[in-house]
């Protein structure tokens, strides 16, 4: 494909047998996998267009083992790619031919549930949904809900700063994690934060969250849990024009209402979803909004009325309001199944993930339509409309020569448009390898150098997950060099006091 990974280090590959043996001495039994057949499931993550067998897979089950594996690799100059459940949509866990794939799948235990402090202390391999399930009996849940929540691990969520439908109101992963145990590439084990609302000193938890496995390997996480809202109801509102739906979203927010979730689908997405799950979606509309209000019953009832009035004022052509949990779930069923639904109408699809200011929604949709014509590829759009996070699904057929390249070029143009409209390259899926080479669209070399200097503070040799996020790799010594300009403290034209 189009994206190149760093060249494999032949010297490391030539030592493979010795490396495998050394890793077996650290992680006994089946925790080290080196046969081609058994490594197959680790060749790719959720970005399945890219595959690469790792040099070896290691599945430690204690922090001490993780530390020893990293220390060994650090001393031997071996690259390491951490992996949770492998659901990344940006290739964040794509292995390296000369790298150790470090899977955290055996860290499956919830260590502590502390209702008084409203936190759960968990190992990173526990799935997102399992945390909510573990505290559901007491009415609590863990708020961020990426659509892969059945499978994705909380460690991966921290690495990617995962979002989800409800992050409009409840925040992303970064707003819901308090602390972690992290192992640096050197093998050093650190504890950052804990059950308190803030950690002391620099907000290291904040920088670790969303660092895409480039700063350290997380072996324990403390997350905040919330009481489940008393009730939730949803509206399903159709519009004859996308612009009207966009206006409705803007007015709801402008009126001071922050819904639990506010999703938009365009016509192709509506049709694909309806054919798949038969949720009763209107097929004659250009855009469908699903708006969920949650909270106490009286509040939800009142806000439903307000949102309904706003939708009517924006020219909605249909409006259904859920009257039962079953109906609410049905409204969501199509949206939640949008990706697989689109998978049924196309051999392959690329899921993009840019964010734009809400007000730019109509403009962005028009651009996507134009690009669809230009690249002669169909596109279905699902959005987290409330926070301007777009998920255009570009339909293509990998068996047709040149189609994936065209699809990738189409996707890149969409993301460029997001930046042009005042938005960003990725709202929740991460940069990984997928958007790596687009980073200069958003950041200057100076911006990227500052980010890479921070990487150097954690991993000075650049051994942890190299080739992800940053389009160009620099040596830390080079990044740390000062280029002194001028030489005197003299500001002749500055006011002094």
């Amino acid at each position: 494909m189009v994206i190149m990974m760093p060249a494999a280090d032949q010297a490391v590959l030539s030592r493979r047998d010795a490396i495998v043996a050394a890793l077996r001495a650290i992680v006994p039994g089946e925790g080290v996998i080196d046969s081609a057949a058994e490594m197959l499931p680790y060749e790719s993550d959720g970005l399945m267009a890219y595959r690469q067998p790792p040099m070896v897979v290691v599945l430690p089950d204690t922090t001490e083992q993780v530390s020893k594996v990293l220390k060994y690799c650090f001393e031997q100059g071996i690259k390491v790619v951490p992996r949770g459940s492998g659901t990344s949509l940006s290739g964040g866990a794509l292995p390296l031919a000369d790298g150790v794939l470090l899977g955290l799948g055996k860290f499956k235990r919830i260590r502590e549930i502390d209702f008084d402090n409203r936190v759960v202390v968990t190992e990173p391999g526990v799935t997102n949904l399992a945390i909510s399930q573990a505290v559901a009996h007491a009415g609590f849940y863990y708020a961020p809900d990426p659509s892969s929540q059945i499978a994705c691990s909380i460690g991966g969520n921290v690495a990617e700063n995962s979002g989800g439908v409800h992050c409009l109101k409840y925040g992303m992963t970064t707003n819901n994690v308090l602390g972690c145990e992290i192992v640096l590439m050197s093998g050093e084990i650190l504890r950052i934060g804990g059950k308190a609302a803030e950690n002391s000193g620099y907000d290291l938890m904040g920088i670790i969250t969303g660092s895409e496995g480039l700063l350290g390997v997380i072996t324990e996480i403390t997350v905040r849990i919330l009481q489940k809202p008393e009730t939730a109801r949803a509206l399903m509102v159709g519009f004859a024009e996308v612009e009207a739906a966009g206006e409705c979203v803007a007015r709801i927010i402008g009126n001071g209402i922050i819904p639990g979730g506010m999703e938009m689908m365009d016509k192709p997405a509506i049709h694909a979803a309806e054919a798949f799950v038969h949720a009763g979606y209107p097929l004659d509309v250009e855009a469908l909004l699903i708006i969920e209000l949650d909270g106490p019953g009286v509040e939800v009832d009142e806000l439903i009325k307000r949102v309904e009035a706003i939708a009517q004022a924006c020219g909605s052509t249909s409006c259904q309001i859920s009257t039962s949990e079953a109906e609410r779930n049905l409204f969501w069923a199509g949206r939640k199944a949008a990706f697989p639904a689109v998978g049924r109408i196309s051999p392959d699809y690329l899921c993009m993930d840019g964010t734009i200011p809400r007000g730019a929604l109509p403009k962005a949709l028009a651009r996507i339509r134009d690009l669809s014509a230009k690249y002669d590829l169909r596109v279905a759009n699902v959005f987290h409309a409330g926070d301007g996070n777009l998920h255009p699904l570009i339909l293509y057929d990998a068996n047709q020569p040149g189609e994936i390249e065209r699809a990738e070029a189409f996707g890149a143009d969409i993301l460029r448009a997001c930046v042009e409209f005042g938005g960003v390259l990725t709202g929740e899926h991460g940069v990984g390898i997928e958007k790596r080479d687009l980073m200069p669209e958003m950041f200057s070399e100076i911006d990227l150098n500052q980010q890479q200097r921070l990487k150097c503070a954690f991993d000075a040799q650049g051994l942890l997950n190299p080739g992800k996020v940053f389009p160009t790799l620099h040596r830390c010594a080079e990044l740390g060099r000062m280029h002194v300009h001028g030489g005197r403290l003299a500001f002749p034209d500055l006011p002094r006091f």
């Binding site: 402090n117 409203r118 936190v119 990617e160 979002g163 925040g171 992303m172 970064t174 650190l190 059950k195 308190a196 609302a197 803030e198 002391s200 000193g201 620099y202 907000d203 290291l204 904040g206 920088i207 009481q227 803007a250 402008g254 001071g256 209402i257 106490p296 806000l303 964010t355 734009i356 200011p357 809400r358 007000g359 987290h384 005042g422 938005g423 960003v424 990725t426 709202g427 991460g430 980073m439 958003m442 100076i446 911006d447 500052q450 200097r453 921070l454 150097c456 503070a457 000062m482 280029h483 002194v484 300009h485 001028g486 030489g487 403290l489 500001f491 500055l494 006011p495 002094r496 006091f497």
Partner: protein, 412 residues
């Protein structure tokens, strides 16, 4: 000492570059209202951002505002208030506590990262900083983040800038999330509880589905002067445990009834309505009982952050053993402690107790002499301290920005 009043972002870059070249560390100020927080600095010039005071863009429908770092917080707050919006994290105004006038600048608000009562629901300053343009200690202008809430493009350097007390980079412009103001609020008040029982009441309220947006406890104190909105309570001579509900009126009323039932085991509940409620919470937010002009004005003040359910026992023991006074916010997770004046501000006692509870403590108010001798910010474990130092060097290798303020360290 030179004060260099910059006019634009380009000036900031020039000043920092010249400071690097001549190894003249800079103190970074907006209005200088928080200069007395942190260790006394080893700086010999002041970079004054107060002229970078423009509002670059305010987009109420996008829930964002982009402002220059030197913009006065009060002006920006009244601007967003005109659109019925607010900074949901309720930034603490430290002016009463420190005995200065004015509530400072946007840059100071982010650099200090001090959040008020609503932090338990809405997060802190770090959760509301979406993007920044800043100049690093390399003398380079860089940007991070963006102008949208949902953004995972590159490392989230905004998190580091918030609460870094100007030691990583000089912010020139920031984009902040703003949120709609609640239509109404109501505070439920329990009276006469001891700290541990009050902590349990707050835990019970915060563990309820009633969306509590403020949970504070003011112990019955011999020392607390009858200030502002608290005068009424002090007159009664009884401790007050306060729980705030916000939202649309019907919802607030409904939740207030439900929450009162939840709290029934802790005694009868009084209600404070909108205006009275707001006044009480601003008093707590700004730590007014420990105001510099008040009876405890000469006492050092600690800001302790700990696991919320352990706050009551921690604060109660600390007050008892030191002869000091405490106020609880964040359901017990934030303790403001005013302790009788001692040269070391009783640092050893505070830190030993706080660490045992899983928390950390910063000395927010103390004499210059005390701040010279005592770790103002909580000392970190070896590995984390070393990492923090490497992080600092990755932004400011010559320690040119606010040298000495936060961590006692020297240049590479």
């Amino acid at each position: 000492m030179d004060t260099l009043k910059v006019r634009d972002a380009r000036d900031v870059e020039e000043v920092v570059r010249a400071a690097i070249a001549s190894d003249q560390p800079l103190e970074i100020i907006g209005h200088g209202t928080k200069r007395a927080i942190g260790h006394p600095m080893a700086t010999n010039a002041v970079l004054d951002l107060s002229a970078l005071n423009a509002v670059s863009a305010y987009e109420p429908n996008e829930l964002i505002i982009t402002v220059q770092a030197g913009a006065p917080l009060a002006d920006v707050q009244s601007l967003i208030d005109s659109k019925n919006q607010q900074f949901a994290f309720e930034p603490t105004d430290t002016s009463a506590l420190l005995g200065v006038s004015g509530s400072g600048t946007i840059g100071g608000m982010i650099g200090a990262g001090l959040a008020g009562p609503r932090r338990i629901k809405a997060g802190g300053a770090r959760d509301h900083l979406l993007g920044a343009h800043a100049v690093s200690g390399f003398g380079d202008s860089f940007k991070t983040g963006g102008r949208v809430v949902k953004n995972v493009t590159g490392y989230d350097l905004c998190k580091l800038l918030a609460g870094s007390w100007g030691t990583l980079a000089v912010m020139a412009e920031v984009t902040l999330k703003v949120m709609p103001k609640p239509e109404s609020e109501r505070t439920l008040m329990l009276s006469g509880l001891d700290d541990v029982t009050a902590n349990r009441a707050m835990t019970s309220a915060l563990g309820s589905p009633y969306d509590v947006s403020g949970a504070a406890h003011l112990p019955n104190s011999a020392f607390r002067p009858a200030t502002g909105a608290l005068a009424g309570f002090a007159a009664q001579g009884r401790a007050a445990t306060l729980l705030r509900l916000e939202g649309i009126a019907a919802s607030v009323a409904d939740r207030a009834n439900s929450l009162a039932k939840t709290l029934a085991p802790f005694g009868s509940v009084d209600m404070l309505q909108d205006g009275a409620s707001a006044e009480v919470w601003s008093t707590i937010r700004d730590v007014e009982p420990f105001a510099a002009g008040g009876a405890l004005g000469a006492w050092p003040v600690w800001r302790i952050v700990c696991p919320p359910a352990s706050g009551g026992a921690l604060g109660q023991a600390l007050a008892r053993d030191s002869g000091g006074d405490v106020i609880y916010d964040w359901g017990g997770g934030l303790i403001w402690a005013a302790l009788p004046p001692k040269p070391d501000a009783l640092a050893a006692l505070v830190r030993q107790r706080v660490e045992a509870a899983g928390g950390h403590a910063a000395l927010i108010r103390a004499s210059e002499r005390t701040r010279r001798d005592v770790d103002v910010f909580h000392p970190q474990a070896g590995g984390v301290a070393a990492l923090s130092q490497r992080v600092r060097h990755s932004f400011d290798p010559k320690i040119i920005l606010n040298r000495g303020r936060m961590l006692l360290m020297t240049a590479t």
